[in-house]
Protein backbone atom coordinates (compact mmCIF):
# COMPACT_ATOMS: atom_id res chain seq x y z
CA UNK A 1 0.00 0.00 0.00
CA UNK A 2 1.26 3.46 -0.90
CA UNK A 3 0.98 6.20 1.70
CA UNK A 4 1.60 9.80 0.63
CA UNK A 5 2.44 12.62 3.03
CA UNK A 6 2.47 16.35 2.27
CA UNK A 7 5.91 17.27 3.56
CA UNK A 8 7.97 20.40 4.21
CA UNK A 9 11.19 18.42 3.72
CA UNK A 10 12.47 15.18 2.26
CA UNK A 11 13.15 12.93 5.26
CA UNK A 12 11.16 11.02 7.89
CA UNK A 13 12.08 13.77 10.37
CA UNK A 14 10.66 16.52 8.16
CA UNK A 15 7.48 18.22 9.28
CA UNK A 16 4.15 17.61 7.58
CA UNK A 17 3.38 20.53 5.30
CA UNK A 18 -0.09 21.57 6.48
CA UNK A 19 -0.86 22.82 2.98
CA UNK A 20 -2.14 20.47 0.30
CA UNK A 21 -2.00 22.60 -2.85
CA UNK A 22 1.25 24.35 -2.09
CA UNK A 23 3.01 21.53 -0.29
CA UNK A 24 6.76 21.59 -0.92
CA UNK A 25 7.16 17.81 -1.27
CA UNK A 26 5.32 14.53 -1.26
CA UNK A 27 6.94 11.68 0.60
CA UNK A 28 5.48 8.36 -0.52
CA UNK A 29 6.04 5.25 1.55
CA UNK A 30 5.23 1.81 0.21
CA UNK A 31 4.75 -0.39 3.28
CA UNK A 32 5.00 -3.62 1.28
CA UNK A 33 8.37 -2.90 -0.31
CA UNK A 34 9.37 -0.45 2.49
CA UNK A 35 10.44 1.92 -0.22
CA UNK A 36 10.35 5.68 0.32
CA UNK A 37 10.08 8.01 -2.67
CA UNK A 38 10.23 11.79 -2.61
CA UNK A 39 8.36 13.93 -5.14
CA UNK A 40 9.32 17.58 -5.49
CA UNK A 41 6.20 19.71 -5.76
CA UNK A 42 7.95 23.08 -5.54
CA UNK A 43 7.12 23.89 -9.17
CA UNK A 44 3.61 24.67 -7.94
CA UNK A 45 5.03 27.91 -6.52
CA UNK A 46 4.82 29.25 -10.06
CA UNK A 47 1.07 28.71 -10.24
CA UNK A 48 -0.52 32.08 -9.58
CA UNK A 49 -3.90 30.40 -9.21
CA UNK A 50 -5.18 26.85 -9.06
CA UNK A 51 -2.41 25.34 -6.95
CA UNK A 52 -4.83 22.86 -5.36
CA UNK A 53 -5.99 21.33 -8.61
CA UNK A 54 -2.44 21.29 -10.04
CA UNK A 55 -1.30 19.30 -7.02
CA UNK A 56 -4.33 17.02 -7.28
CA UNK A 57 -3.15 16.26 -10.82
CA UNK A 58 0.18 15.18 -9.35
CA UNK A 59 -1.63 12.87 -6.92
CA UNK A 60 -3.33 11.23 -9.90
CA UNK A 61 0.12 10.39 -11.23
CA UNK A 62 1.37 9.02 -7.90
CA UNK A 63 -1.90 7.16 -7.17
CA UNK A 64 -1.41 6.53 -3.46
CA UNK A 65 -3.89 4.49 -1.41
CA UNK A 66 -3.70 6.90 1.52
CA UNK A 67 -2.99 10.62 1.72
CA UNK A 68 -1.91 12.20 5.01
CA UNK A 69 -1.94 15.99 5.26
CA UNK A 70 -2.71 18.95 7.55
CA UNK A 71 -5.53 21.36 6.74
CA UNK A 72 -6.71 19.11 3.96
CA UNK A 73 -7.40 19.85 0.30
CA UNK A 74 -9.74 22.73 -0.53
CA UNK A 75 -13.10 22.42 -2.26
CA UNK A 76 -11.84 22.16 -5.86
CA UNK A 77 -8.98 19.77 -5.14
CA UNK A 78 -11.19 17.60 -2.93
CA UNK A 79 -13.76 17.26 -5.70
CA UNK A 80 -11.06 16.10 -8.12
CA UNK A 81 -9.57 13.67 -5.59
CA UNK A 82 -12.96 11.97 -5.10
CA UNK A 83 -12.31 10.26 -8.43
CA UNK A 84 -9.53 8.29 -6.82
CA UNK A 85 -10.04 5.37 -4.51
CA UNK A 86 -7.89 7.01 -1.85
CA UNK A 87 -8.40 7.58 1.87
CA UNK A 88 -7.48 11.05 3.14
CA UNK A 89 -6.40 11.77 6.71
CA UNK A 90 -6.07 15.33 8.00
CA UNK A 91 -4.91 17.34 11.02
CA UNK A 92 -1.42 15.83 10.92
CA UNK A 93 0.25 19.26 11.04
CA UNK A 94 2.78 19.88 13.81
CA UNK A 95 3.90 16.26 13.37
CA UNK A 96 6.98 14.87 11.69
CA UNK A 97 6.38 12.38 8.86
CA UNK A 98 7.38 9.58 11.22
CA UNK A 99 5.00 10.75 13.97
CA UNK A 100 2.21 11.09 11.41
CA UNK A 101 2.86 7.55 10.16
CA UNK A 102 2.85 6.12 13.69
CA UNK A 103 -0.37 7.97 14.48
CA UNK A 104 -1.90 6.68 11.27
CA UNK A 105 -0.91 3.09 12.13
CA UNK A 106 -2.48 3.48 15.57
CA UNK A 107 -5.68 4.85 14.07
CA UNK A 108 -5.19 8.24 15.68
CA UNK A 109 -5.52 10.38 12.56
CA UNK A 110 -8.77 11.98 11.59
CA UNK A 111 -10.27 10.76 8.30
CA UNK A 112 -11.67 13.39 5.94
Amino acid sequence: MKIAFTAAGTTWDSMIDPRFGRTEFFIVYNDETQETTVFDNSAVKNEAHGAGTATAQKIFEIKPDVLITGNGPGENAATALKQLDMKIFVNAHNMTIKEAYDNYKNGKLQPL
Binding site: D17, R19, R22, K45, N46, A48, N71
Partner: protein, 300 residues
Protein backbone atom coordinates in the same frame (compact mmCIF):
# COMPACT_ATOMS: atom_id res chain seq x y z
CA UNK B 1 11.81 22.41 15.14
CA UNK B 2 10.90 25.94 16.00
CA UNK B 3 8.39 26.41 13.18
CA UNK B 4 5.79 24.38 15.02
CA UNK B 5 5.65 26.89 17.85
CA UNK B 6 4.81 29.88 15.70
CA UNK B 7 1.17 30.83 15.84
CA UNK B 8 -0.06 32.00 12.50
CA UNK B 9 -3.12 34.19 13.04
CA UNK B 10 -5.07 35.21 9.95
CA UNK B 11 -7.48 38.14 10.06
CA UNK B 12 -10.34 37.84 7.58
CA UNK B 13 -13.66 39.51 6.99
CA UNK B 14 -15.34 38.17 3.88
CA UNK B 15 -16.91 41.58 3.36
CA UNK B 16 -14.74 44.64 2.83
CA UNK B 17 -15.06 47.71 5.04
CA UNK B 18 -15.73 45.93 8.33
CA UNK B 19 -12.56 47.27 9.98
CA UNK B 20 -10.39 44.23 9.33
CA UNK B 21 -7.20 46.12 8.51
CA UNK B 22 -7.77 48.74 11.23
CA UNK B 23 -7.95 45.93 13.78
CA UNK B 24 -5.11 43.92 12.23
CA UNK B 25 -2.89 47.02 12.41
CA UNK B 26 -3.94 47.66 16.01
CA UNK B 27 -3.06 44.09 17.00
CA UNK B 28 0.24 44.46 15.15
CA UNK B 29 1.08 47.50 17.30
CA UNK B 30 0.03 45.67 20.48
CA UNK B 31 2.11 42.62 19.52
CA UNK B 32 5.16 44.81 18.95
CA UNK B 33 8.29 42.79 18.35
CA UNK B 34 6.79 39.43 19.35
CA UNK B 35 5.09 39.13 15.96
CA UNK B 36 5.98 39.33 12.29
CA UNK B 37 3.31 41.07 10.24
CA UNK B 38 2.28 39.78 6.81
CA UNK B 39 0.08 42.04 4.72
CA UNK B 40 -1.61 39.67 2.29
CA UNK B 41 -4.39 42.08 1.33
CA UNK B 42 -2.27 43.11 -1.61
CA UNK B 43 -4.93 44.32 -4.06
CA UNK B 44 -5.56 47.35 -1.90
CA UNK B 45 -2.68 47.26 0.52
CA UNK B 46 -3.07 49.99 3.09
CA UNK B 47 -1.67 48.56 6.29
CA UNK B 48 1.58 50.40 5.55
CA UNK B 49 -0.22 53.73 6.03
CA UNK B 50 -0.72 52.84 9.69
CA UNK B 51 2.43 50.86 10.45
CA UNK B 52 5.00 53.03 8.68
CA UNK B 53 7.31 50.43 7.14
CA UNK B 54 10.72 51.61 5.89
CA UNK B 55 10.59 49.59 2.60
CA UNK B 56 14.18 48.62 3.36
CA UNK B 57 14.51 45.45 1.28
CA UNK B 58 12.61 44.72 -1.91
CA UNK B 59 12.43 41.90 -4.40
CA UNK B 60 10.75 41.87 -7.79
CA UNK B 61 7.83 39.52 -8.04
CA UNK B 62 6.76 37.65 -11.16
CA UNK B 63 3.34 36.13 -11.59
CA UNK B 64 1.34 35.01 -14.60
CA UNK B 65 2.38 35.52 -18.19
CA UNK B 66 2.31 38.17 -20.86
CA UNK B 67 2.35 37.59 -24.64
CA UNK B 68 5.19 39.21 -26.57
CA UNK B 69 5.24 39.48 -30.39
CA UNK B 70 8.53 39.33 -32.26
CA UNK B 71 7.83 41.87 -35.00
CA UNK B 72 10.70 40.55 -37.15
CA UNK B 73 8.97 37.18 -37.60
CA UNK B 74 5.33 38.33 -37.50
CA UNK B 75 3.59 37.93 -40.88
CA UNK B 76 0.73 40.29 -39.90
CA UNK B 77 -1.93 37.62 -40.47
CA UNK B 78 -4.02 38.81 -37.54
CA UNK B 79 -4.99 35.34 -36.31
CA UNK B 80 -3.85 36.26 -32.80
CA UNK B 81 -6.08 39.33 -32.71
CA UNK B 82 -9.03 37.25 -33.97
CA UNK B 83 -8.85 34.74 -31.14
CA UNK B 84 -7.98 37.14 -28.31
CA UNK B 85 -10.99 37.28 -25.97
CA UNK B 86 -9.62 40.34 -24.24
CA UNK B 87 -9.09 42.50 -27.33
CA UNK B 88 -5.52 42.86 -26.18
CA UNK B 89 -3.90 42.80 -29.65
CA UNK B 90 -4.76 46.01 -31.52
CA UNK B 91 -3.46 46.68 -35.04
CA UNK B 92 -1.59 49.94 -34.87
CA UNK B 93 0.93 51.58 -37.20
CA UNK B 94 0.86 48.58 -39.49
CA UNK B 95 1.65 46.04 -36.81
CA UNK B 96 -0.05 43.89 -34.19
CA UNK B 97 1.02 44.78 -30.67
CA UNK B 98 0.12 43.41 -27.25
CA UNK B 99 -1.57 45.79 -24.89
CA UNK B 100 -0.04 44.71 -21.56
CA UNK B 101 -2.90 46.14 -19.51
CA UNK B 102 -5.44 44.02 -21.38
CA UNK B 103 -3.46 40.79 -21.86
CA UNK B 104 -4.60 38.11 -19.41
CA UNK B 105 -1.74 35.77 -20.30
CA UNK B 106 -4.00 32.93 -21.51
CA UNK B 107 -1.62 31.95 -24.33
CA UNK B 108 -4.28 31.41 -27.01
CA UNK B 109 -2.44 33.77 -29.42
CA UNK B 110 0.78 31.82 -28.98
CA UNK B 111 -1.08 28.60 -29.84
CA UNK B 112 -2.59 29.91 -33.10
CA UNK B 113 0.38 31.94 -34.42
CA UNK B 114 1.48 30.18 -37.67
CA UNK B 115 4.93 31.83 -37.69
CA UNK B 116 5.77 31.23 -34.02
CA UNK B 117 6.25 34.94 -33.53
CA UNK B 118 4.54 35.01 -30.14
CA UNK B 119 6.11 33.83 -26.92
CA UNK B 120 4.71 33.95 -23.41
CA UNK B 121 6.99 35.69 -20.95
CA UNK B 122 6.83 35.80 -17.19
CA UNK B 123 5.18 38.97 -16.11
CA UNK B 124 6.64 41.23 -13.46
CA UNK B 125 3.68 42.03 -11.28
CA UNK B 126 5.13 43.98 -8.40
CA UNK B 127 7.53 43.99 -5.50
CA UNK B 128 7.66 42.18 -2.20
CA UNK B 129 9.14 44.18 0.70
CA UNK B 130 10.59 43.33 4.06
CA UNK B 131 10.42 46.33 6.33
CA UNK B 132 10.98 47.42 9.86
CA UNK B 133 7.82 49.15 11.08
CA UNK B 134 7.26 51.75 13.78
CA UNK B 135 7.12 49.16 16.55
CA UNK B 136 10.62 47.97 15.52
CA UNK B 137 8.92 44.74 14.42
CA UNK B 138 9.17 43.21 10.96
CA UNK B 139 6.52 43.39 8.29
CA UNK B 140 6.42 41.61 4.93
CA UNK B 141 4.23 43.34 2.37
CA UNK B 142 3.87 43.87 -1.35
CA UNK B 143 3.05 46.48 -3.90
CA UNK B 144 1.43 45.51 -7.19
CA UNK B 145 2.10 47.12 -10.53
CA UNK B 146 -0.75 48.71 -12.44
CA UNK B 147 -3.31 46.13 -13.66
CA UNK B 148 -1.58 43.33 -11.73
CA UNK B 149 -3.69 41.31 -9.32
CA UNK B 150 -3.17 39.51 -6.06
CA UNK B 151 -2.79 35.74 -6.29
CA UNK B 152 -2.36 32.65 -4.19
CA UNK B 153 1.22 32.66 -5.32
CA UNK B 154 1.93 36.16 -4.00
CA UNK B 155 0.21 35.42 -0.69
CA UNK B 156 2.23 32.20 -0.32
CA UNK B 157 5.42 34.18 -0.97
CA UNK B 158 4.59 36.93 1.57
CA UNK B 159 3.68 34.29 4.16
CA UNK B 160 6.81 32.27 3.52
CA UNK B 161 9.07 35.30 3.94
CA UNK B 162 7.20 36.23 7.12
CA UNK B 163 7.63 32.70 8.43
CA UNK B 164 11.36 32.73 7.68
CA UNK B 165 11.72 35.98 9.64
CA UNK B 166 9.62 34.61 12.49
CA UNK B 167 11.82 31.50 12.62
CA UNK B 168 15.05 33.46 12.45
CA UNK B 169 13.95 35.94 15.11
CA UNK B 170 12.27 33.36 17.37
CA UNK B 171 8.95 35.16 17.13
CA UNK B 172 5.82 33.70 18.64
CA UNK B 173 3.27 35.07 16.21
CA UNK B 174 2.63 35.89 12.60
CA UNK B 175 -0.27 38.26 12.11
CA UNK B 176 -1.66 37.92 8.58
CA UNK B 177 -3.96 40.58 7.19
CA UNK B 178 -5.92 38.48 4.69
CA UNK B 179 -7.77 39.75 1.66
CA UNK B 180 -11.53 40.11 1.36
CA UNK B 181 -13.70 37.56 -0.41
CA UNK B 182 -13.18 33.81 -0.58
CA UNK B 183 -10.95 33.49 -3.65
CA UNK B 184 -7.52 32.07 -4.29
CA UNK B 185 -5.62 34.62 -2.13
CA UNK B 186 -7.86 33.84 0.85
CA UNK B 187 -7.39 30.09 0.47
CA UNK B 188 -3.64 30.66 0.27
CA UNK B 189 -3.64 32.88 3.37
CA UNK B 190 -5.53 30.17 5.30
CA UNK B 191 -3.29 27.27 4.45
CA UNK B 192 -1.01 26.52 7.37
CA UNK B 193 -2.79 28.96 9.71
CA UNK B 194 -3.46 28.16 13.36
CA UNK B 195 -6.30 30.53 14.09
CA UNK B 196 -8.59 32.86 12.18
CA UNK B 197 -9.93 36.13 13.56
CA UNK B 198 -13.06 37.10 11.66
CA UNK B 199 -14.04 40.74 11.65
CA UNK B 200 -17.65 41.43 10.75
CA UNK B 201 -20.26 44.16 11.08
CA UNK B 202 -23.97 43.94 11.82
CA UNK B 203 -25.28 44.33 8.30
CA UNK B 204 -26.97 41.84 6.04
CA UNK B 205 -23.94 41.60 3.75
CA UNK B 206 -21.64 41.45 6.78
CA UNK B 207 -23.37 38.27 7.95
CA UNK B 208 -23.78 36.86 4.45
CA UNK B 209 -20.06 37.20 3.68
CA UNK B 210 -19.12 35.94 7.14
CA UNK B 211 -21.04 32.73 6.52
CA UNK B 212 -19.46 32.39 3.10
CA UNK B 213 -15.87 32.83 4.31
CA UNK B 214 -16.51 30.53 7.27
CA UNK B 215 -17.46 27.73 4.85
CA UNK B 216 -13.91 27.98 3.48
CA UNK B 217 -12.34 28.07 6.95
CA UNK B 218 -14.36 25.05 8.04
CA UNK B 219 -13.14 23.14 5.02
CA UNK B 220 -9.58 23.59 6.33
CA UNK B 221 -10.60 22.74 9.92
CA UNK B 222 -9.06 25.89 11.40
CA UNK B 223 -10.44 27.27 14.69
CA UNK B 224 -11.92 30.71 14.41
CA UNK B 225 -13.04 33.60 16.58
CA UNK B 226 -15.12 36.59 15.62
CA UNK B 227 -15.15 40.28 16.45
CA UNK B 228 -18.37 42.12 15.70
CA UNK B 229 -17.29 45.64 14.89
CA UNK B 230 -19.76 48.56 15.13
CA UNK B 231 -21.95 46.06 17.00
CA UNK B 232 -24.34 48.70 18.36
CA UNK B 233 -25.26 50.06 14.95
CA UNK B 234 -27.86 47.35 14.40
CA UNK B 235 -28.54 45.25 17.45
CA UNK B 236 -30.98 42.87 15.79
CA UNK B 237 -28.41 42.04 13.11
CA UNK B 238 -25.73 41.66 15.82
CA UNK B 239 -27.92 39.12 17.60
CA UNK B 240 -28.32 37.18 14.39
CA UNK B 241 -24.54 37.09 13.95
CA UNK B 242 -24.14 35.84 17.52
CA UNK B 243 -26.61 33.05 16.87
CA UNK B 244 -24.57 32.00 13.86
CA UNK B 245 -21.34 32.07 15.90
CA UNK B 246 -22.96 29.92 18.58
CA UNK B 247 -24.31 27.37 16.11
CA UNK B 248 -20.88 26.97 14.49
CA UNK B 249 -18.92 27.08 17.76
CA UNK B 250 -16.93 30.11 16.67
CA UNK B 251 -15.38 31.98 19.62
CA UNK B 252 -17.19 35.27 20.09
CA UNK B 253 -14.19 37.44 20.90
CA UNK B 254 -15.86 40.81 21.36
CA UNK B 255 -18.42 43.39 20.39
CA UNK B 256 -16.78 46.68 19.54
CA UNK B 257 -19.10 49.69 19.59
CA UNK B 258 -19.12 52.17 16.74
CA UNK B 259 -16.46 54.76 17.54
CA UNK B 260 -15.14 57.63 15.45
CA UNK B 261 -11.79 57.14 17.21
CA UNK B 262 -10.91 54.73 14.38
CA UNK B 263 -11.20 57.56 11.86
CA UNK B 264 -9.50 60.16 14.07
CA UNK B 265 -6.56 57.82 14.56
CA UNK B 266 -6.42 57.03 10.86
CA UNK B 267 -6.28 60.71 9.93
CA UNK B 268 -3.17 60.95 12.12
CA UNK B 269 -1.72 57.85 10.45
CA UNK B 270 -2.10 55.89 13.68
CA UNK B 271 -3.92 52.80 14.86
CA UNK B 272 -6.72 53.19 17.35
CA UNK B 273 -4.57 51.90 20.23
CA UNK B 274 -2.11 54.76 19.81
CA UNK B 275 -4.55 57.56 20.65
CA UNK B 276 -6.57 58.37 23.76
CA UNK B 277 -9.68 56.21 23.54
CA UNK B 278 -11.55 53.65 25.63
CA UNK B 279 -11.08 51.25 22.74
CA UNK B 280 -7.44 50.84 23.64
CA UNK B 281 -8.15 48.84 26.80
CA UNK B 282 -10.74 46.73 24.97
CA UNK B 283 -8.40 45.86 22.12
CA UNK B 284 -5.62 45.00 24.57
CA UNK B 285 -8.04 42.62 26.22
CA UNK B 286 -9.01 41.02 22.88
CA UNK B 287 -5.38 40.59 21.82
CA UNK B 288 -4.61 38.95 25.18
CA UNK B 289 -7.52 36.59 24.63
CA UNK B 290 -6.37 35.69 21.09
CA UNK B 291 -2.87 34.94 22.40
CA UNK B 292 -4.30 32.74 25.13
CA UNK B 293 -6.52 30.76 22.74
CA UNK B 294 -3.80 30.23 20.14
CA UNK B 295 -1.19 29.21 22.70
CA UNK B 296 -3.62 26.67 24.10
CA UNK B 297 -4.54 25.32 20.65
CA UNK B 298 -0.92 24.92 19.72
CA UNK B 299 0.02 22.80 22.72
CA UNK B 300 -2.77 20.25 22.25
Amino acid sequence: MSSERINEIVILSGKGGTGKTSLAAAFSVLAGTEAVIADCDVDAANMHLLLKPDFARSMEFYSGELAVINQDICIRCGKCADVCRFNAIPFMENQYTISPLDCEGCGYCEKVCPSFAIVMKERKSGKVYTSTIKTEGIMVHARLDIAAENSGKLVAKVKKDAKDHANAGNKKFIIVDGSPGIGCPVVSSLSGANYVVLVTEPTMSGLHDLIRVYEVIKRFRIKAGCIINKADVNEAQSREIKEFLMSEQIDHLADIPYDSAFSSAMIEGKTVVEIQSPLKAQLEEIWKQIKLITNKNNTI
